[in-house]
Subunit: 256 residues, 6 copies
């Protein structure tokens, strides 16, 4: 069920019996020469909508712009500051509880949002108003990701390429995959971002010329579909697991 | 040109020659028994994308959730607090200037966002980093709106109904138009929200039983199309006017 | 009853039986070549004190500086940022509730304060600690204003001029009324502040050379007195209406 | 020169040749059974206006409500939180610099405002936009205060009583002076607020039954006048001294 | 009992029977040519640990950096802004209440922290979560301080010199005591920081060349020891007094 | 060189020739039944001081309380909120730049601080005032850690146990090592904190009964020493590397 498409009287029954909401969040930021800037929010929305369709849980509209200043040197990257992002997402999630929502799945497709979603989730839980988890598709199927690609590259790499080839093939510049690979960096390790134990890297531009990592030529729409199906299954099961928990069990433990 | 669909190298040319961005903003909130909760952000996005297509100016992804706590009593209304909204939008707009954007059109379809967009716009201008205007489609064609409908009703009324009938007909419950009218309030005046000069009304639920005003049965897809074309034309001309101004002329006057 | 003049033991009886407070708010900002910078706070204070005298309700001291950056290009305009204004007024109003006040009338004479007073009022109400309304004198007697003046001009125009001629005649430069009219702008419409539906105007200096609008020569002390009496009557009736409401009826409606 | 009474064109000459502003600040809070709640802001305004009259420097309208939560247990005390007060005053003072003001005298008559004015003053100075000092009348003539009264009592005591007897005799309940003395506390020392070196006192209600200290029966209008003349003289000389300094000499020293 | 040295199971018994915590706070800032920058936090920690050892009350680790921008012109001074300091200390103290602490002694050795600790303490008390007092050693034994030294000098003077000679003799440059005295200022009075009643001084560098006041040559380790023993005794008695109070008696008085 | 021990004149030479500072940060929080609550700040301080001694770079006093609410259910855990921590650390680091510091090593021994130090570091770098890196000792010698221990356990496990056995043996309850192991969780994997790709764990108490993980019986002082020497070597080399960089090379890349 997609909240944006429903009229309010038709949502009453949902809130009467259910208290879970899927909230898609992504970013609008450079994803190399071959992928669209909307990659992350397109992926987040696709997963959240698919899991909502399959389970009947409610999916909200998408937060399209996240914490991406580390990609700002590349044309078109949009971003908000971490405090602005946290406050916006916290306010949005906290207000959902007015309708009875008490568990939220942040279906997030942008790594830069993660610590901020954790911080928001913690506040909601410590206030005992809601339990929120953040979920990233690729972390739900790590073995499959590793099986499919030799050089994953966390940003703009073959796994994201395959995903957009599957979800929005018109938005992939298939003729630039080799260029993406050759102008980028094969792996995080080769980016040499760790100096004597310290992560010295702040921006994508610090270690890649075109903003991406991995071997994009290894991506295919079929791999994207396989990943999408597998990870959607994980998200569906996460929702079902969450729905099965007693609210009290999701809340903080008491003091020892 | 829609930013979310472009790869970063393809945006370089735009920022080299242009400095305007259209930013759609709406809300996700009840719009009566007949319209979807996404009404406002759907409308905002449609106008911004249409004007961008026609002019070649850049359109960003949409801010889908705005300042709507006054609709919260109806199932599904989402909202963020005014400070969270202002900070998110200001951060988003201010960061666009990193790429050279210095004029922003907030294509907004939700009245509750207006004072906050004004406040953000003022800050950007007083800091002399960008000039932002907020634009609402119905205020650009007031005579046409008045000509087409006898009872406009500012929220969920016939003008918004017609617009969604045109843009997303599947999302309108055409069989509930009479119910929307009969269960709501004909006009703001009849809602009796002014007591001895003071606006005593805070929430939609204070004066309407179903959240909407006006005579929805007066809406047709053809009226929606007519309005859409007319207002898109205004938005196009606004962009062209804004693009023609010298940046210095958009900045604050000096002290007398 | 004026709070500033009372010793604390003499206020105990009031708070025992009453829970309403009038809080005057204005601005200190340019009002053209003919009116004093204190115009708005002088007017607000006069109305609040008069209504308090007539009804016995409590009037607090005045907030003299408001949100006026849009008049800053003219010598002497004082202002605070919107967040500073909101926080100051919210703190002041919220703390009144400690003494039992649960309904507040913001007697406001400056348009620039309005959205901020609304935002504060909404927070107080959503927290269910108090119900606040903002009242502007000219909006309580719109027909009379229209009857008395041909060219109202919202800022520094004949209605404000007549009001100060009545309240503080020594502070009006009567010999500059024609200059005020001729150096300003006849009406908002003629200021051409709307471009294709967007309000492109941020500052008074954007469209007036001397900061004011309307035909000031149309003002007389008698008209000022007539307006003052009429609007004070409205304010008195607003206070009485508010006092008559049950607190629960002033609070937000429950979720549908 | 009082800013609130002037029209903007008449202030141009002042800002051309002068850069000093007097800003009166007080509180609205209980001052015992005999004095009005407005005591502090009445005193602050009287001094600032008198010094402005004598010197020609500019005086602004008054900030009437300050940091007074420590008097809240007594009917009618108004207050704002420290952050709200600081932000309001900082914004007000910082914006004065837009007109060329670069030195500000906070003419303050409420002890509870002092650390906050110091904090604001420090920020203005460290940013090198203005130099602000806070001035309290009784600290400018400490010997005279000690000469005139045996039991000063810092709050609502004879010095404040005498001052209001001089400035606004109608607002003093002269028939309650003995009651004020007998129901209060003779001196800070007798209030026993220090325990083993720690100030354990937070609120006036912690150690006084009626909110005041000292021997109020020792006050006379003549003493009030004497104090007013003497302290006004000090304020005048402070303004002249400040006006004589080079701006650079008022700014922070460089790093050693 | 020092919290930092204990394993969590060993703290359970303490929180079961006691609810008091000593929190040492100081600064890291210039203390003249003869004393270490850590002077204030070394002193605070020494007192808090000694009183905890003597009484069995709990002492937490030390807050080492405080509000010291007024010493910034001298090499090495560290500081945080007042809001950052207040929020950090408030958060730290408020969270102690989770374990049952409801009375806190801020053992503070830096004057610049005082108004901020008061503000934090007030918030904790007004929220009725804890009662906090701030204690400075030299204010607990004022007569002894006066007896021991002719020229106290509040910052880097003989009392602080003697204290470090006692607590950490290796950190005192005894060969620079005369230089400290001769290059500094004998007393606050001679620093001439008051102009017509206004404190015109913001930074130590405004009136001292080497950052310190008083006659440092008057300090001896024996005097330091005498002061330490005497003031520790006061702190011990303060803790015992505080422990003896009923919590309700420490909370704010009700409205009169 | 340890800043806290130096008098200001002796720091002048350092700042003339060097611009690097080591800032130790830790936490005060439960570390199981066998380790002291100060574990993390003791470790951080030891590393920072050792590297400063070896290289001559400047080490500041320690921030002893960090972001640890996830350990709050165990007696004695202290914490500050994430915003309070970030603001305190940012203010502290930013103000170091006043003395010429433009590169900072956050020597951090608490994982919960990491995302916040990254956020602070990013702000400093984007403002181009300083370059800060955060360093954790165990991440600098990952192979050695893996070689020495079979069950590392990230919190309170054998690596931290060995470290405190080396640095402060008196503070380790060696007789509780088996109890620590048996009452805790062997590894993160066995804590089963990931559900279908989502990290469902917020607090240590969610999945451990005594707050710790790993096999503590595997720890020895000798292993602690070996780790300390190896990791100190890495920190020394990090400082030297950082010192060798041109400041411009540490700043953000320009827009492509």
């Amino acid at each position: 069920m997609y909240l944006g498409n429903e009229a309010w009287p038709d949502l009453g029954a949902y809130f009467e019996s259910e208290s879970l909401a899927l909230v898609p969040l992504g970013s609008t930021e450079q994803h190399g020469p071959h992928l669209p800037e909307g990659t992350d929010h397109l992926i987040a929305e696709a997963f959240a909508r698919a899991a909502a369709d399959e389970t009947g849980f409610l999916c909200t509209p998408t937060v399209n712009v996240g914490v991406s200043s580390h990609h700002r040197q590349f044309h078109g990257t949009m971003w908000v500051s971490p405090p602005a992002f946290r406050d916006y997402v916290e306010s949005l999630a906290r207000n959902l509880t007015y309708h009875g929502v008490d568990r939220v799945v942040f279906v997030n497709a942008h790594g830069g949002n993660v610590p901020h979603l954790r911080e928001v989730g913690r506040r909601l839980r410590e206030d005992e108003v809601a339990y929120a988890v953040d979920w990233m598709w690729d972390e739900s199927v790590p073995e499959l990701v590793d099986d499919l690609f030799a050089q994953n590259g966390p940003h703009g790499g073959p796994k994201e390429t395959a995903m957009i080839q599957h979800l929005a093939p018109d938005l992939v510049h298939d003729d630039r995959l080799a260029e993406a690979r050759d102008g980028g960096v094969p792996s995080v390790a080769e980016a040499e971002t760790i100096v004597h134990g310290a992560r010295t890297f702040y921006d994508a531009a610090d270690n890649t010329a075109n903003g991406v990592l991995g071997d994009q030529t290894d991506a295919t729409p079929a791999k994207g579909e396989q990943l999408f199906e597998a990870a959607t299954g994980e998200l569906v099961r996460l929702c079902e697991w969450l729905d099965d928990q007693a609210f009290a069990d999701l809340m903080p433990e008491p003091h020892v």
